[in-house]
Amino acid sequence: MVVNNLKLLVGGVQLRDAVTTVTDILGKLFVRAGLHVLAMERGYASTIYGAHQFDPMVVAATPPLSYGDDRTDVLVSLEHDTNPDSPIKPNRDTILRHGKNLKEGGVLIYDNSTETVEVGELQARGVKVFPLPARQIAQRELKMEVTKNTIVTGALLRLLEFDMDYALFGAYLEGRFLSKGRGVVDINLEAARRGRAAVEEILSSNGWDSVGYRLEPQPSSVPNLLLTGNEAIAMGSILAGCRFYSGYPITPATSILEFLEKHLPRYGGRVLQGQNERESIRAAIGASIAGVRSAVGSSGPGISLKVEEFGLAGATETPLVIVDTQRAGPATGMPTKSEQGDLAMAIYAGHGEIPRIVLSAGTIEECYSLAFEAFDLADKYQCPVFLLSDLTLTDGRKNLPETYFTENQKPVVRHGLVRAADPGGDGYKRFAITESGISPRSIVGTPGAIFKVSGTEHDETGLITTDPPKRKAIFEKRMRKMQTYLKEDAKPPQVFGSPDGVPLLIGWGSTKMPLLDAQARLRSEGMETCVIYFTHIWPFPVHLVAPLLRQGSVLIVVEQNYSGQLADVIQQECLIETRRVLKYNGRPFYTADIAGGVRQVLAGGPGVVRVGEEAPDAAVETVPEGD
C-alpha cells in the first residue's frame, strides 16, 4: 500500500471535459487535509475547445522536490466519443497519450459511456482499470450532464480512500454552491456517491480490497494556500506596493492581469488592459513618472513589442517592473508550452545601452518574494527591472503555509523620492551627478522639483544636449548605478551541496525543482554534484560567481532553450567553459532528463546534450493539439 505519495493525471478534451475542475477540487481538499500538492503542467493548448488537455498533480506527505518523471500512478480519462463511428476515438486519447507512462500496478479510470477501450496491454502490466460511465450516469440518472466530473471525483475519493465521509468535500460544496441553494450541494453529493457506488462494484467484481494507493489526512498547524506562480507574483506585487499595472491579454501572463483587475482596486490601485502591448507599457511608464509603483506583464511576443520602451525607461531613469512569463518562442511559438528562451532578450534587448536588472523566479515561493525585490530595486535604481518566470510556474500550483507569505511580506520603502525640494527656486536637478549614480527623484506635481525628462540625451537638469562632456558624464552616471547595485544588492547564486571538485549543475527558472530532484537521484546512485541556481542574473555578479564556479570539476548548465543562454552569459562573463543539457520540446524537464543528460556529459559525451523524445511514437491517431 502506497500512502500519501502519488502522481495523478487527469486528461480530457479542453473546455468540454473541464479537465481542471477535478484537479482544482481535489487540490483544495488535499491541501485542507494537510497534504502537499505540486502541479506544474496544466497541459492546455492554444485553442478554446477541442484539444487534448492534461493536468498532472503530485500529492505527497512532504513538500515534493519536483514534479518528478513523466510517470503516472493514477490516470483519469474524462473523454467520451461524440461520434462512435469516427475513426478517431477521442475517448482513447488520454489513454493513448499517457497510458504508456502509467506505472506498473497503477490505476486507470476512464469514461466508457460510449465505448469500452481495449486496455489489455495495461492490465498485463498490473494496471487496475475502472471503466466508469460517468457521463451516462450524469445524463440518465441525475439528468444533469455537468455533474459528470463530480461523479469522477467521487470515484477517485473512494479509490484513494480519502474523505470517505465527505466532511471536506461537503464543506467545499457548501462554500461554493450553498448560495445557489441546498439542491445544488445535494445533487453534487449524490453524484459523488454514484461514482463511489460504481467503483465499489468494480472492486468487488474483481475481488480487490483496494487499489494500492491511499491518501491520509495529516494534521497541519497552519492553514495552507494553494496558488499558481502568477497568483504569487500578483499577490506579491500588491503587497510590495504596486498600484498601477497594465497588460495586454497574452498567454501565460493574462492571469496576472485578471487577478490584479479583481484585487488591486480594493487596495486603491488601478489596472489597465492596454489596447496593445505598447500602450500598456507607455501607460505604466506614465504612471511611474506620476509616482506610483508600476508594472507591466507579458510574455515573449508582447515583450518583443515593448523593447523600445525599455530603452526609454533606462534613459529617463523611470522605475518599472516588467514581468516576462516566458513561453516557447520564437514568433507565436507554442503559446501554452514552457521555455526559458527570453533571458538574452531581457539582458540585451534594445538599441544602445541602459542600466537594467534581471531577476528570475524558479519556484512559486520566489515568484512571491522576488516581486518585493523587483519593486524595491526598481525604486532604488530608477531603471527597468525584469522579473522572469516561465509557463511551468505561471500555471503550476503548489501549497505553501500562510506563514510563508506573512513572514516574507516586506514593508514598502520608497527610496530617494523627493517630497518637496527648493520650493522657491529652480535648483532641483532630476539627474544630478552622484557617486552612486542614483539621483534624488521627484515625481510630477512636487513643488520646487520640476523636471524635464527625455529619452533624448540630456544634462543633469533633463534638458536635451549633445555636448560631448555632458553626454559622457550623464551616460556614466546612469551606468554607475549598476556598479552600485553589484556592491549593495546583487545576490550570489543559491548553492546546494559543496562545489569542491564535483560537477556543478547550473540553472535558472523553473528548472530549479528538477535540478534538485536530479541531484538527489544522482546522489542515491553514488554521484555527488552541486546545484548552483541563479535568481539575480543581470548585472552578472562576476565577483560572486567566478570564484564559486572555479571550484567545480565541470560546469553543466541545464536550461529549457536551444542554445544555452545562461551558459553563454557565464562563458562571456567568467571566461569558464560550460557544457549544456538543453530541452525545448515544450515539456518541462523531468528528473530523468537531467540525470540522464548529466551522465551523458560526464561519460565524455558531447558538450551539448539535447534531451526530449527523439521521434514521435508509432503513428497513433490522436486529437490534434491545436495551433
Binding site: G286, T316, V413, G445
Partner: protein, 289 residues
Amino acid sequence: MSVASPEAARLWEQNAFPRHRIQWCPGCGDFGVLAALKMALMRIGVMPHEVLLVGGIGCSGQTRNYLNGNGFHGTHGGPLGYALGAKMVAPDLTVIALAGDGDTLAIGMESFIHVCRRDPAVTLILMNNGVYGLTRGQDSPTTGLGKIMEEHTEEHPPFVDPARLAITAGATFVAQSFSGDPRHCADIYAQAFRHPGFAMVNDFSPCVTYNKFNTAGWYREHSEHVPEGHDVSDKAAAWALLDDFDRRGKLPLGIIYRAPRRKKAHARLPIWEEELAGIDPEPMFSVFR
C-alpha cells in the same frame, strides 16, 4: 499673483531653455503654439509643478523644453500612452500632450483612436503642419490638405482629417486652431484644459521650411471661425459644420464638438510609504485556502 501679471509670465520662463536657445526656424508656427500655451496656462491659473507636458518626436515635441512645467519626452507615437498613465495616477495634474501629425496620426494612430475612446482628461495639441519637418520634408498623414488631386497612388494617399477621426473614435472635445492667431488658440486651449475628458485640438502650425503649400498665408485664406450659434453639443451639427466648411474649401477654427461624458471619479493612487503601510493580505489569502 494675477493670472497675466509679468511675474506670472516670468514664472513660465523658468526651468526652460531661454528664448535665444529655441531651435525652431524663424517664422515656425510652433512659436504661436508656445505663446498661446503660456497664455492659456496663466488663464487657468495652474502652477508649473502641477503641469505635465508630454512631447512627441519632432519639432513640436520640443515645445515642452521652452516653458516651465514638468516635461516628459518618450518614444515616437507614445505621448498619449504616457499621458494616459500619468493622468490615471494623478487626476489633479494638468496633462498636455504636444505632438505632431506624424507622431499622432502615423506611428501613434492606434493610440490616438483608443485614447479618444478612453477619454482621459488629457489635452492633445496636435501641431499639424502636413509634413515630416525634422526629417526634412517627407509626406505625413496630413500631407495634401487643400490640394486638388486628380489621381491618388498608394504612395500618396488622401490626407487624414483628425477632427472627423476624433469624433468618430469617441472624443468628447474636438477643436481646431491656427497658431498664427495665438490669442484665439489660447482661448481654445484654456477650454480644452478645463474639459473633463480627452480634448483634441488640431492646431494648424505651418512648417515654413518644408511645407511650401500650407503656408501661414494659405491657412489665413482658407480658414474661418466656427460661426456663433453652432451647437457644440450636437454631433450631427458638428458633421454638418465640417461638411459645410469642406464644400466651401475652408477649415473651421474653434470648438467643433464638445459633449462631456459621465465618468467615475478616481482619487490619486497611493504613492507614499504611509499610504502603503500595513497592507492586509487577508482578502487575497481567502481565495487560496
